[in-house]
Symmetry: C2
Subunit: 479 residues, 2 copies
Amino acid sequence: VLRARTVPARIRSALREFSEHSPSRFAILVFGGLIVLFTVLFSLPISSAEGRVTNFVDSLFTAVSVICVTGLSTVDMATHWSPFGHALIYIGVNIGALGVLTLASILGLVISRRLGLRAKLIAASDTNPLRMHHGPVAEGQAVRLGEIGGLLVTVAVSALVIEVGLALLLFPRMLADGIPPLTAAWESLYYSAMAFTNTGFSPNAEGLAPFANDYFFLSVLMIGVFLGSIGFPVIYTFTRSIKARRRRDRAGKPARWSVHVKLTLVTSLLLFVVGAVLYLVLEFDNPGSFGSLNAGDTVFQSFFLSMMTRSGGFSTFDISQLNGSSLLVTDMLMFIGGGSASTAGGIKVTTLAVLFLAAFAEARGVQDMEAFGRRIPSDVLRLAVSVVLWGATTVAVSTVVVLQITKAPLDYVLFDVISAFATSGLSTGLTASASEPAQVVIAITMFMGRVGTVTLAAALAASERRQLFKRPEERPIVG
Amino acid sequence: VLRARTVPARIRSALREFSEHSPSRFAILVFGGLIVLFTVLFSLPISSAEGRVTNFVDSLFTAVSVICVTGLSTVDMATHWSPFGHALIYIGVNIGALGVLTLASILGLVISRRLGLRAKLIAASDTNPLRMHHGPVAEGQAVRLGEIGGLLVTVAVSALVIEVGLALLLFPRMLADGIPPLTAAWESLYYSAMAFTNTGFSPNAEGLAPFANDYFFLSVLMIGVFLGSIGFPVIYTFTRSIKARRRRDRAGKPARWSVHVKLTLVTSLLLFVVGAVLYLVLEFDNPGSFGSLNAGDTVFQSFFLSMMTRSGGFSTFDISQLNGSSLLVTDMLMFIGGGSASTAGGIKVTTLAVLFLAAFAEARGVQDMEAFGRRIPSDVLRLAVSVVLWGATTVAVSTVVVLQITKAPLDYVLFDVISAFATSGLSTGLTASASEPAQVVIAITMFMGRVGTVTLAAALAASERRQLFKRPEERPIVG
Ligand SMILES: [K+]
Ligand SMILES: [K+]
């Protein structure tokens, strides 16, 4: 019977072997493959509006930007591509977003499996939303392909529901604005996908400018970006809470939210408000940004800009007109990024939160990091430090190289590099005007930021080795 | 007998109370007091070359820069001050340097005392060089004033020996260059103090320009900066090793170096070489810096510049002529700074090393951080994270404020702010040309960087609280 296995079964088996044994390498391979495929597709004459071959660097950059849902571009995205090209972009960002959501979730599964071997009780607790596709704790470490499929379906259904919901809110508004029904249908789907996947491209040549004063339209985009950036574990908790309430109505107690969910929501909210207040204070009198707006508009646009740094990437005005101070604030907000296992980039809000929890514990002089009545194991801090070092090193190397190639001001280079790393997609215009070598460096930065950060975190968290003996302790002086 | 205590005895007693119970606040008070005193002295007409009152902001800035051994200035330091003013500067940097060395050592003593209560064995091991002024582990937590005095004497004698040694090397060279003997004596003492204290002011109007091609002179400065920046614990280990070798000659085994000493030396050396290589690669064809130099000169100047980022602050050319890439590299090197309990600033090389050791441990999947065959306790990582967060937050807030006030390019603002925080003293010229509010912000940054970092690290390390119960463990997702 074993010899009679069909070719598809063998491929399935080989795929399973690989995905089970080195999921990080598997992820890099999948994303790399998608980028190669889309580079070829974008370079085809049929993809460009003028029916010509798009050069290699532009095709590659667009492919990376689309698959990594970054939103930076070296060509005018709205006018350079044909309808076929736009369809590619639409499909690409959805594949990229679902891919990264699924990937992060699979890696999470693998980690919790491995950790499960060490401490079944922890992993078996229902606080980990990634464990919903199997009942009791499995004995093996492997993630079965069936589970991956199940996870992918759940992620895809969630994304579909959210994107269609957002599009249904945008569509009537576009009709009311006098846009023809077919165009409105396409653009509302496109905008909702660009919001939920945190990409930030516009389908129309003028971008968001026609909607710059349309609070309803911009609010829908903000909701889309928020839902995409908050992360799948949080969305899963939301839907579970809603279901639980509906089922039990008055009787049942509400489902407990995990520390991860609470930490993500609180940190995101804090960054959202702090960012908006800073933009308000720093930009209210800048004629290039909010100087000509009244008080209400200034407040709304500050919150919109703050939300877009999570990594939405939409902007209603020319980002290069911001004060240097606001550009730096944006750099920091983008670098932090969104929630874990989300379509947003950056080092993730929980990573930052864990660093501050460690500092609080140190200041209080207590042994353990604590949040929301729970103790956070100290190895999480090491993981957070590793992720930040990875991010800081990537951004530093990339910025130094791009600075040296372009000799452009640090304000703009740092901004576009961090935007690339954190898949934000906001741009000062440097990326589009930079030379091809610099654009390739930025493309590599996008890949490192998107695929690198997720796989690194997972690879580090999953690695575990038995230590045979304890060395004598010694304490260096720091600070 | 107790009632008959004299006034000096009462002051001594009150001083002891305060220094024992809140050494961090004591330190801030001492440095604050010194700055007030020197601000008044610098503002006196006798201090200025023109015999006029120096305005408040310039006097304050100079006082902070001198006491914090930063080396930034808002006036031309060589020409603005009278001989009396220069004597103040000379005395000020020595007080500042000895103050911070002693302070860091005292705080180290306090910490090891407190930790000693918890784990006598660790604290009692002779690997901690700060514990040399008392034999067996004391029962109490208090640091006696006698110990502080003893420590201060040891530090002062070391500094005196090193500074006089450096001056004796510089003096004949200056005579040979045709400088009159008295001027040469004064300038050689001045330069050696500025090197060892990591301040970086020049006594002569042309600064280092006359010596820009004098490898002997510059090398002596590099040695001075290195000895100042490596930290007192390392210097103490050096002298102990030399003494031990002399005493035991062939028989004895060499004294074991602590992890702190090894980690400081290895990280410093690595940063020194990496910095030099980067400057070489990024600047060899820049006409504003090394473009006109031959290969040998370029290599030497790269190493000189790299050493000065530790926080020496001397420069042989106009720093604002560096490429943006090199400015950013310098930013990072300055932010890291020198060794703990040294005259250098920054977050300290061991802090960076501990972060990377944590990432290595995470990558290898082992439980403990290890270095040189020793296990580093995990609370050291929390302390390192706290120090980095403190530094990053201070630099970020200061940079945003100065950017907003001056509207100057980020390249220059970030450079001068980090230079202030890390007491480096290298400048793009922004500090001198900035408005007074911006200069005050930079002065505050210097104080936060110098006094804040040392006291924060000590205050955090010393704080300890008993936890009465363990909360249930839960693991958020990071990265
Ligand atoms: K984006
Ligand atoms: K200095």
